[in-house]
């Protein structure tokens, strides 16, 4: 456990440094560090003002947004897997993705022949995501003996409904706006700014804290609803609280960066393979691991084929899947 935590923290530091240092404009690490210290009133910066703004206005907000997105998606995925006791659960399970997709599509196709993505897209995406999850909760959570299965099924139904509405809208619109919607849906950190960081920060911090604190309750819930209640846990309240937190945080992230796949499902599983099945360990480590993982993937996404960028969701899958298989096979060999 300790070793894993140290290694993960190390990966996080590495991700932060690489996120700042790597880019088409070569600026060495010591000079970036010198500039950072000069802002704190220590020594003098050797960076030109352009270099300085490349580092602090382009790379830094992108790196920070990547940390927030990775942390939020990973911890939300881990929480969903716990609360639904379903290893296939990911943060988009209850309709966040479909809702955000519909919201974004509404924003983008509304502008005739849009070549750019309008500024209110995140707002509509966020609203769409929250509407979809709330609808899922109302449908799935109101039956007399609501189980997690009814909630998951309601999520499937709501997602289908929203996706079909989105498809219909796209089909009615121009090729140009279809392309814009598609690019938005793929997910990217390319439009990160300090503004978007500040907008999502309170959601992410609040929701991550709630999810991590829920670890012990999720461990109790692993024995099933009836038994967890007999042990003194208010299962319904815990479920409502953690689903709300995971969904809210995910919606905020999706509205800022689009749909980045694979992080939410793969990171908690990697962590679980390394430290066991207790959510008291899985969730906090998923926060660190998810943050590091996404920033490292984004660094690759923007450098491998520079100056063009790979879709972030593609890189997370290309890196994540082999890492997962590797850890799985190593674990198989070490446990008889």
């Amino acid at each position: 456990m300790f070793v894993v935590a140290v290694v993960t923290a190390g990966a996080l530091v590495l991700a932060v440094v690489l996120g700042l240092v790597i880019g088409p404009t070569p600026i060495s690490t010591p000079r970036i560090l010198g500039d950072a210290f000069s802002h704190l009133g220590l020594g003098h910066s050797t960076l030109t003002s352009i270099q300085s703004s490349v580092v602090w206005q382009l790379r830094a907000p992108r790196m920070v947004l990547g940390l927030l997105a990775g942390a939020m998606l990973a911890v939300a995925g881990g929480t969903y897997q716990g609360v639904f006791r379903n290893p296939l659960a990911d943060p988009y399970l209850l309709g966040v993705a479909a809702g955000a997709g519909l919201g974004a599509t509404l924003a983008i196709v509304d502008v005739a022949n849009a070549a750019t993505i309008p500024t209110w897209t995140p707002l509509l995406a966020f609203a769409g995501a929250m509407v979809a999850v709330s609808l899922t909760w109302v449908i799935g959570g109101r039956s007399m003996r609501s189980t997690t299965a009814t909630l998951v099924l309601a999520g499937v139904a709501v997602s289908a409904l929203f996706t079909s509405a989105q498809t219909f809208l796209q089909q009615q619109s121009s090729a140009q706006s279809i392309a814009s919607v598609y690019i938005w849906l793929l997910g990217s950190l390319a439009n990160a700014s300090w503004h978007s960081v500040l907008v999502v920060l309170p959601y992410v911090v609040g929701c991550v804290v709630v999810c991590v604190l829920a670890g012990r309750a999720l461990d109790v819930m692993s024995v099933g609803d009836d038994e967890a209640r007999s042990l003194g846990l208010s299962v319904r309240s815990v479920r409502l609280l953690v689903v709300a937190a995971s969904s809210l945080g995910t919606a905020a992230i999706v509205s800022a960066v689009g749909l980045i796949g694979f992080v939410g499902i793969i990171v908690p599983h990697i962590v679980r393979l390394l430290v066991g099945t207790s959510y008291r360990r899985i969730l906090p480590l998923s926060v660190l691991f998810g943050a590091a993982f996404l920033v490292l993937c984004d660094t690759l996404a923007r450098t491998v084929m520079a100056p063009s960028e790979l879709p972030l969701g593609v890189v997370t899958a290309i890196i994540g899947a082999p890492v997962f298989v590797l850890i799985l096979s190593v674990r198989r060999m070490s446990t008889p």
């Binding site: 604190l213 829920a214 012990r216 309750a217 461990d219 109790v220 692993s222 024995v223 099933g224 009836d226 038994e227 209640r229 007999s230 042990l231 003194g232 846990l233 208010s234 815990v238 066991g276 099945t277 207790s278």
Partner: protein, 261 residues
């Protein structure tokens, strides 16, 4: 002193009545077993006893406190529950599993206190689970696993433990082990046990009192010796049963070719 009091309890699921107007008083420090054929409503009744079902009518009180008026945590300090098929999370150690019992005491946001850890260690010792402490609970044999589940219920340190078919699927020796453990808790720690059992012989052997449930209603209630010999028992099971006495113990034997309507 009455520890468990069911007052005109009715339980419905949709239009089906699972339990109909059952009233029952169980004295502190005794063992009451609920018997009856499949579908008689035993599982629903014990779930209601553990405060896990919303009653259609009536009340369940434990230690003079109505369960429906308590919060989950308060209720969990009064009554522990072992379902027929407990869910054993894969990868959770025996120690961690038994320690789940203390969440009602330390809360879902706090770590277990020293006292919580002592209680858990004590029960693990008492039920001879020490050697398995760090094993994955899901990898244990049926008998060991059931002992682990029982340890969780006992570590909850309640006055009442409710068990649904605690010995189903175990071999004879492990069945005896589990029942002896429970009997010891009843006799030495004044625990009140309410259990459902299918084995009528074992039910008679260990229990002070049998309650025969049939189609959701109490058909007979009394000392094991009387209930086992009653006409109602054979009627409710729809088969002929013979009671033979072996060394002072009643043994219930089914008789072939005499199925009743």
């Amino acid at each position: 002193m009455t520890m468990v009091h069911l007052d005109h309890v009715t339980l419905r699921a949709g239009t089906t009545t699972l339990v109909h107007d059952v009233s029952l008083e169980v004295a502190a420090g005794t063992w009451c077993t609920i018997i009856g054929p499949n579908g008689a409503g035993k599982t629903s009744l014990v779930a209601a006893l553990a405060g896990l079902r919303t009653l259609s009518r009536g009340t369940v009180s434990i230690d003079e406190q109505r369960l429906d008026r308590l919060r989950e945590r308060e209720r969990a300090r009064l009554v522990a529950y072992v379902p027929q098929h407990p869910e054993i999370p894969v990868g959770m150690s025996v120690l961690d599993y038994v320690a789940l019992s203390r969440v009602a005491f330390h809360g879902a946001l706090r770590a277990p206190s020293r006292r919580d850890r002592d209680v858990v260690a004590g029960v693990i010792e008492r039920l001879e689970l020490g050697d398995f402490r760090h094993r994955d609970g899901a990898s244990l044999s049926g008998g060991e696993r059931q002992r682990m589940v029982l340890a969780r219920a006992l570590a909850q340190a309640t006055k009442v433990v409710v068990l649904d078919e605690p010995i189903t699927g175990l071999d004879v020796r492990h069945q005896m082990d589990i029942l002896e453990l429970l009997k010891k808790e009843v006799e030495e720690c004044a625990l009140t046990v309410i259990a459902t059992l299918h084995d009528l012989t074992l039910a008679g052997l260990f229990t002070d009192r049998l309650v025969l449930l049939h189609r959701g209603e109490v058909l007979h209630d009394g000392a094991a010796h009387d209930v086992i010999r009653s006409e109602e028992l054979a009627t409710s099971y729809g088969t002929r049963l013979q009671v033979v006495n072996v060394d002072g113990n009643d043994v219930v034997v089914p008789v072939r070719g005499a199925t009743r309507a």
